[in-house]
């Protein structure tokens, strides 16, 4: 039995639950007398509710109660009570708080009935009359109203400029500039937001909720409803996808809790797919990039400004332009990031927030400037390679981006590329090859874990983190089993419960590093305890052994100097009459390391597209994504994360866009029929490479997280490939056939090499 599990492509420990339909998601918990809630949303974007007529709906047999702002009381008064761990600066939205409408599809009521169908039917009988006010939802028309993005959202850092980019640019011989746009995008995890709220006699409430952070929901609900933390238990063993949408508590958890507390009955509230478009999105953003280079391809100036949309009540911020100050070596960098307030829901973090937005513009611009100086775009990136973090003036703890370039290019066959656009074709299919690179923060947050080793030699480790599909159950089990040299089948990892030790929100690619380090730490504690006990055993091969003489593997503790002298874990516990070992542990980032180094993961993405010359349709036929993210705990689950990210990137580049009707301030395509995401047929060959990257500084596990790094460079790599195929530079995502054709038509004389 080998017990060195990390780095191995283990199958998911929760795999059989997922393939048999027995993994339980938030809407799948049952209770006696369960009631069903159906949420009503506003049909206007701005104004006031004049009247909400529930009389007819109340007549429907089976309707128990209808909650609206008119009959809900006893909630927290202050805005700040509605803040959660991921709130941006501002006044959070308060559901059913007053008659004001702040954005279209704002939740304005909840029908509770004995069946789902009755609740839905009764909701259709509610008549709402509004007093409408003038609204503003068009980002591009309102850039003049932008203002500087404030500090306050966790992780947000203001961009820093350096040198004098403007005057260098003005004098430069080789330069480009362009405006890049993308509209709102919605996360659309396949499981819709759902909460089953169970009211208990003693005033406690248990919430089975779809969330990326049980502690965050616990805090939020306890603040709003004035409950003590210990009276709110939040449970979430499986989450059907998050991608950031579950970082903040969503309004269904408020609705379900409200109804359960008021009615003293268990209540389930599930959003509809349409409602999945009503609470936060990747903000539509307009970006302007200008760059100059010398004749050798050295970047001489970078200017990058971004205007993101936000709501009227909160200032959602993300790190967009900052990446342009660290990605390449350049003395003159001018960065600007501003927000435009619109009558929309507050945007929400969505997979690689900010970085993916930035890379679309910036990495496309790098391609443009490389073409301006007639240098291969990969070669151009190598010329401007940043060894150090120029903003912080610190080296990276590790940066194997060059290896990503080389291995990715070799796998893709990049050396066979002819630089000329429109130079490769098969019949009427224009073929293009493009590439781009990206970076993401390798972060670690404080996290806690508990371990219980029982007399039968079984270990249970727990931490209140979540499983959104990333493989948390599996990698934590691997880490625990390896640390204690135990058979992986003897180890169980539990998560998703506020009764467990606290873990950070599952986001930012930091879960493996944060919770993994805590799991390792707590298992080290158990190990130390076992060594102590082993040494206390009488007349055993390990009697009196010092901890440093001992090690563990294959379910045994043995002398390093004499592996034959050993005792099994069970023997040690039996001989010392130990029923169980219970340890708690925690781990957090090393503040000293942060003062000396910067921590980033990196990726290089190579894409091939085929563009139909007559129809303008784009197909991504091949993608190679080479990733440097430190040690990879499980190449199988990590590979799947990167694979999923590449699919997201393709989807973003070619399909995803929530279209706003600016007359009504409403997203028009709020369903999966009209909001397109990549389906099976859209996806072709995807190759993933994890390059070797050794890093002792980043965290005790040497890992950097893989949840976001895979997506960042995909859309620009595709956009660059489309340019290479067609000579047309589509700067507005998604790249749809109409844009390709129209630009080809209008801009026949685009700059060609």
């Amino acid at each position: 039995m080998k017990t060195n599990y990390t780095g191995q492509p283990a199958n998911r420990v929760d795999g059989s639950l997922k393939v048999t339909g027995t993994a339980k998601y938030a809407a799948e918990f049952e209770a006696e007398g369960l009631l069903f809630g159906y949420i009503i949303n506003s049909t206007i974007a701005k104004g006031k509710i004049k009247e909400i007529d529930i009389s007819q709906a109340m007549q429907v047999a089976g309707v128990v109660q209808i909650f609206t702002h008119e009959n809900v009381s006893g909630l927290a008064w202050f805005n700040k009570s509605y803040k959660d761990m991921d709130s941006p600066p501002g006044d959070p939205f308060r559901p059913l708080y007053d008659h004001k409408i702040r954005y279209s599809m704002q939740p304005i009521g909840l029908v509770v009935a004995t069946t789902f169908e009755v609740a839905r039917f009764a909701a259709s009988l509610i008549k709402v009359t509004y007093k409408e006010e003038k609204l503003v939802t068009n980002l591009q028309d309102n850039l003049h109203r932008s203002k500087k993005a404030p500090m306050g959202k966790v992780g947000y850092v203001q961009p820093k400029s350096r040198g004098d980019a403007e005057s260098v640019f003005a004098k430069a011989e080789y330069k480009i500039e362009g405006e890049y746009v993308h509209a709102a995008e919605h996360h659309n995890p396949l499981e819709m937001f759902a909460t089953t709220a169970i009211w208990e006699e003693d005033g406690k409430v248990t919430l089975y909720d779809k969330t990326q952070g049980v502690s965050n929901v616990q805090l939020y609900i306890s603040n709003i409803f004035g409950l003590s933390l210990k009276n709110v238990r939040v449970v979430s063993p499986f989450v059907g996808g998050g991608f950031g949408s579950g970082l903040r508590p969503q309004y269904q958890v408020f609705m379900a809790t409200l109804a359960a507390l008021e009615l003293r009955r268990p209540v389930r509230v599930v959003m509809t797919r349409q409602q999945m478009f009503s609470f936060g999105h990747r903000p539509g953003t307009v970006q302007r990039v200008a760059m100059s280079a010398d004749e050798n391809g050295k970047l001489t100036s970078i200017q990058h400004e971004a205007y993101g949309e936000t709501s009227q009540f909160e200032d959602y911020t993300e790190i967009v332009v900052n990446w342009s100050g660290t990605m390449y070596n350049c003395e003159n960098v001018k960065l600007k990031y501003e927000l435009v307030k619109l009558d929309v829901a507050t945007p929400t973090d969505m997979r690689a927030p900010g970085a993916v937005t930035s890379a679309h513009a910036f990495e496309s611009a790098i391609d443009e400037i490389a073409y301006a100086v007639k240098i291969d775009p990969l070669e151009f990136r190598k010329i401007n390679y940043a060894e150090d973090d120029q903003v912080e003036g610190k080296p990276y703890s590790s940066k194997e981006l060059r290896a990503c370039y080389d291995q990715g290019a070799a796998k893709f066959g990049w050396s066979g590329r002819s630089i000329e656009p429109r130079s490769m074709r098969e019949g009427n299919q224009l073929i293009g090859w493009g590439m781009a690179n990206g970076a993401w923060d390798a972060l670690q947050m404080p996290a806690k874990a508990q371990a219980v080793l029982s007399l039968d030699g079984k270990l249970t480790v727990s931490s209140g983190t979540s499983e959104i599909g990333t493989g948390t159950y599996t990698i934590m089990t691997q880490i625990a089993a390896e640390t204690l040299g135990m058979d992986i089948n003897d180890v169980t990892f539990k998560l998703g419960d506020t009764l467990m030790p606290m873990a950070p929100l599952q986001g930012g690619s930091w879960t493996a590093a944060s919770v993994g380090s805590a799991v390792k730490a707590v298992c080290e504690e158990v190990k130390a305890k076992l060594f102590k006990l082993a040494s206390k055993t009488k007349h055993s091969p390990l009697s009196g052994a010092a901890p440093k003489e001992l090690t563990m593997a294959e379910g045994h503790i043995f002398l390093i100097s004499d592996p034959g002298s050993r005792l099994s874990i069970i023997e040690v516990m039996r001989l010392t009459e130990t029923d169980s070992i219970i340890e708690s542990g925690m781990s957090g980032p090393d503040p000293a390391a942060k003062t000396t180094h910067s921590f980033n993961s990196h990726a290089a993405v190579f894409a091939e597209v085929k563009v139909d010359e007559d129809l303008g349709t784009v197909i991504v036929t091949r993608v190679v994504c080479a990733v440097a993210a430190g040690k990879i705990l499980n190449p199988k689950t990590a590979g799947s994360q990167i694979l999923g990210s590449v699919v997201w990137g393709i989807s973003k580049a070619l399909e995803e866009e929530t279209v706003m009707d600016n007359n009504f301030g409403r997203f028009m395509n709020h369903n999966l029929g009209e909001y397109h995401v990549a389906v099976n047929k859209d996806i072709n060959d995807i190759d993933i490479i994890f390059v070797e990257e050794h890093d002792d500084l980043v965290n005790p596990l040497g890992i950097k997280g893989v949840g976001e790094i895979g997506i960042i460079a995909v859309a620009p790599a595709i956009a660059n490939a489309v340019f290479h195929a067609t000579g047309v530079r589509v700067r507005d995502l998604p790249i749809t056939m109409d844009k390709v054709l129209q630009l080809a038509e209008e801009d026949k004389n685009q700059v060609r090499v």
Binding site: N11, R12, L17, K18, V19, T20, G21, T22, K24, E28, E30, Q56, Q59, V60, A61, G62, T115, F116, E117, V118, F121, S124, L125, P189, L190, E191, M192, F238, V239, G240, G241, F243, V270, T272, R273, E467, I468, G469, T470, K636, G639, S640, Q641, L643, G644, S645, V647, W648, S651, N671, L672, G673, V677, A678, V679, N680, K681, D682, I683, D685
Partner: protein, 168 residues
């Protein structure tokens, strides 16, 4: 509906017999209950997932008389007397269906929410004798969205099982 006055009439309950995973169930359902909600809320078979309730995602795919359908687009009363197989009915005891095993082996899922629908679709595909090439699998599996993006792994799992059963 719009003209309804004080008392609002609700649809009557009808007897419905469903044979699900070999077991017979006699239910009384209003006609507005979808097959999906009948399975999830009345029979407590939560393995079949709801991802849109509008026929746009495939998460609710089940087999009716061996053919795959979106159970959210079907009223339960329409399937009176028919044989339904859900994800819960594929394994034989502890022995997983070859596709279930292949999905685990190929890591053909992440969050797992689309997985029951993907597997039921794939079983239907193989039953129907369709999907004779990777291109066909891709086309015929495109009604099942996987937002986690496990498509290439899903396809290799299906192709593997297809190959194995083809060789028998």
């Amino acid at each position: 509906m719009k003209n309804a006055t004080e008392t609002v009439e609700l649809p009557e309950h009808y007897p419905v017999s469903l044979k699900v995973n070999g077991q017979a169930y006699n239910l009384k359902l209003q006609p507005w209950v979808s097959l999906l909600d009948a399975l999830r809320d009345h029979l407590q078979l939560k393995g079949t997932k709801k991802g849109c309730d509008h026929g746009q995602c495939g998460a609710c795919t089940v087999l009716v008389n061996g053919k795959r359908i979106n159970s959210c687009l079907t009223m339960a009363v329409m399937k009176d007397g028919e044989e339904i197989t859900t994800i819960e009915g594929l394994a034989k005891g502890d022995e997983l269906h070859p596709l279930q095993k292949a999905f685990i082996e190929h890591d053909a899922f992440q969050c797992g929410y689309c997985t029951p629908g993907q597997i039921c679709s794939a079983v239907g595909l193989l039953n129907e004798g369709k999907a004779n090439s990777l291109e066909e699998v891709k086309e015929l599996m495109s009604g099942n969205i996987c937002r986690c993006g496990a498509y290439t792994h899903i396809n290799s799992a299906i192709m593997q099982v297809k190959g194995e059963t083809g060789n028998e």
